[in-house]
């Protein structure tokens, strides 16, 4: 009853597009990691791919530790790209719909051969500069949102929990400052 009194307005403020697409998507992200873990025992993360792939083209000693895993990390990344493409082909294109899926209004949609694709409106300099810092930070910090956030937190690893809290707080601070400076999108 309490929820009916004040929660709708609060819920609407906190979750303007609801929570189902987020929760369902998150469960699938976790499931993908678990499938790999069940079959291979590997707690996979996405950011090691950056260094392991560099080992194909660079002799820097730092990257050589990833030579033995670089081939499957390429396959993992191709799988992620393909999985997102399946989403684009189905839900993003409107071919499949569900009460659990809210389309959203961000960015810009365009069509190629009947498939609805999506483009960000975030400025390239933000993506490139942010990307550089993401590339440096995830590798020094021993993980990213999937390694620390999904597998590490799932392992109840104190290191990962501290890592996630660190990057969440700093990211919120950064985004708030960037927004306050009037940078948009």
């Amino acid at each position: 009853m309490v929820t009916e009194l004040f929660a709708p307005a609060l819920y609407e403020t906190l979750f303007p597009v609801g929570i189902s697409r987020y929760a369902v998507g998150g469960l699938l992200v976790g499931l993908g990691a678990v499938v790999i873990y069940l079959g291979t025992g590997i707690p996979a993360g996405a950011s090691t791919f950056l260094e392991s792939t560099l080992s194909y083209v660079s002799d820097q000693p730092r990257f050589q530790q990833y030579v033995s895993s670089r081939d499957w990390r390429v396959i993992f990344t191709l799988g992620i790209i393909a999985g997102a493409a399946v989403y684009a082909l189905t839900f993003q294109s409107g071919l499949v719909s569900s009460g659990l899926y809210e389309p959203g209004t961000t960015g810009e949609l365009y069509e190629v051969g009947g498939i609805t694709l999506w483009l960000t409106e975030v400025q390239p300099w933000r993506l490139f500069l942010g990307g550089i810092l993401v590339g440096i930070g995830t590798r020094i910090g021993k993980g990213c949102t999937s390694g620390h956030g999904v597998c590490g937190v799932g392992s109840a690893s104190k290191t990962s929990i501290v890592g996630v809290i660190t990057f969440l707080i700093v990211a919120i601070g950064t985004a708030q400052v960037v927004m306050a400076l009037g940078v948009s999108p």
Binding site: G25, V29, G32, T40, G41, L50, A82, V122, G130, V134
Partner: protein, 152 residues
């Protein structure tokens, strides 16, 4: 390299497929949606991270008790535990600035390419540049310090 189980690569691909579909479905492949979270306009991202961590948490807790070895590698099931040192804080903070500026992280960037967002190649190029910078720097620092300590 030792010979791998024939199903090893297909399983990795299927795991990535589900993972990437989830990132697309949850709109995490869209930097705008991540920025909306960081700017306190939509807290849905908490359910993505929470949902994923709950699923992996159950698996990481149960699987090692139920099974001895992973069928495709013969490896024992461990948890993902990394040692804590100040790098976790320094790296986490640098990652945080980058994530807060761009709204994109590695896994979501790969998925973003899959939903048709070619503009994300800027972020991917940046990530490779960043990973190379830290690799170059750490390789050379380690080389000059090998006599002193065996640094990670």
């Amino acid at each position: 390299m030792s010979k791998r189980h024939p199903l090893f690569m297909p399983l990795i691909f299927v795991g990535g497929l589900i993972f990437g579909f989830g990132l697309g479905f949850s709109h995490m492949a869209r930097p705008e949606v991540v920025l909306n979270f960081l700017q306190f306009e939509d807290f849905g991202l908490l359910f993505v991270m929470g949902g994923a961590a709950v699923v992996s948490g159950i698996a990481f807790a149960l699987v090692p008790r139920l099974f001895d070895r992973a069928p495709l590698t013969g490896d024992t099931y461990g948890r993902r535990l990394k040692s804590f040192d100040r790098n976790v804080l320094i790296g986490g903070a640098i990652f945080g600035v980058g994530w807060g500026l761009s709204g994109i992280c590695p896994g979501a960037a790969y998925a973003s390419l899959g939903v048709g967002n070619v503009t994300i190649l800027w972020a991917l190029a940046g990530m490779f540049v960043g990973a190379y910078i830290q690799g170059y720097w750490r390789s050379h620092r380690t080389a000059s310090e090998t006599s002193a300590t065996g640094a990670d």
